[in-house]
């Protein structure tokens, strides 16, 4: 199935959850926040949140700024 991840369409296996998508991309969860369809998904929800076709996922983190 396809989802939009940080603005880009990507292919994902059916049944992938947030924890998996973060891990698959080699991301460390520290300081990382995930939104699905504009809803913030808390860390505790990552395992249970299964992504659906056409979901828009944002993986956000802190960067340098003034």
């Amino acid at each position: 199935m396809q989802i939009k991840l940080n603005g880009q369409w990507v292919q994902l296996e059916q049944g992938t959850n947030i924890a998996q998508i973060v891990e698959q991309r080699g991301l460390h969860p520290h300081g990382v926040v995930v939104e699905v369809n504009l809803n913030i998904k808390r860390r505790e929800e990552w395992d249970q949140t299964i992504l659906q076709e056409n979901d828009e996922v944002e993986i956000l983190t802190f960067v340098g700024g003034g």
Binding site: H28, G31, V32, L38, V63
Partner: protein, 268 residues
């Protein structure tokens, strides 16, 4: 306070409370525009700042770019900004995301839809302040120094007010001096001058006026020696604050002789 010994006067506890924290260092540091991340911990060591700003962005999925948090000591208070937000709603969204990262509940509201001067939208900032203060954030709104807007931010529950000295990144100094002076006199919250401070002397100038703190980013990050410049700013903020506490002398229109009149020289 005794001022006989300058060293003890500076070391004597001068602090202000913000968001439940006791701040003894009045220099807040920004983390944008540094040549690399490795220099950031050295800059923090030189600036001795307790508060540090960061921005929130999409994680770079293609790069193995290390998280900026890895370069900031855990003892620093993180102040995420809502840069990118053009409306109150966008600022609120960013703030909630930032808080979810689990690094605290402080937020610098930055709502800008002017791309030329990056001047903040006071009206949207007031709206965001009200929403986020109600949700328990420690809100520090970045604003254009206007007394009525600052009063509204106080009413809305801001923890401090952050007026700009001159536009972001311009290093033009405290061009808004007279308006900031009014805020310092009239607003019962810490006034933290943010944006446009280009030199340590300008940071000292803000502190001499009675600002509670200053936020500096570009002037340090883009200096030839950011670490050296961070130390210079650290000293300037201390000097400016010390001057304020010591009561700066009055200014006069005409000369006021410093030495007594001579009596022994004959008149011609």
């Amino acid at each position: 306070m005794e001022h006989n010994d300058a060293k003890t006067a500076i070391k004597a506890e001068d602090w202000f409370e913000l968001g439940g924290h006791k701040l003894t260092n009045r220099l807040f540091l920004g983390t944008g525009k540094f040549p690399n991340k490795q220099v950031i911990p050295k800059v923090i060591a030189a600036a001795q700042n307790q508060v540090i700003t960061v921005a929130l962005r999409r994680i770079d999925l293609s790069a193995t770019d290390e998280n900026v948090l890895n370069y900031i000591p855990k003892t620093n208070i993180l102040l995420p900004n809502t840069s990118g937000a053009r409306t109150a709603q966008e600022a609120v969204r960013i703030a909630r995301i930032a808080r979810e990262a689990g690094c605290g509940n402080w937020v610098k509201i930055e709502v800008i839809s002017d791309n030329k001067y990056l001047l903040p939208d006071n009206y949207e900032t007031i709206k965001a302040t009200e929403i986020l203060a109600k949700e328990g954030f420690v809100v520090l709104p970045y604003m254009s120094p206007d007394l009525m807007a600052a009063k509204a931010m106080v009413e809305a529950g801001a923890a401090a007010v952050m007026p700009l000295g001159s536009p972001i990144g311009t290093n033009r100094g405290i061009k808004t001096k007279e308006l900031i002076r009014i805020l310092i006199d009239e607003i019962p919250l810490p006034i933290i001058v943010d944006a446009g401070i280009g030199k340590p002397s300008e940071a000292a100038e803000a502190m001499e006026m009675g600002a509670a703190a200053v936020l500096v980013n570009t002037a340090i990050a883009t200096a030839q020696d950011p670490v050296g410049m961070a130390e210079a700013f650290y000293l300037a903020v201390k000097a400016g604050r010390q001057a304020y506490l010591s009561g700066t002398a009055a200014t006069w229109e005409f000369a006021q002789a410093s030495s007594p009149l001579t009596g022994f020289l004959s008149e011609v």
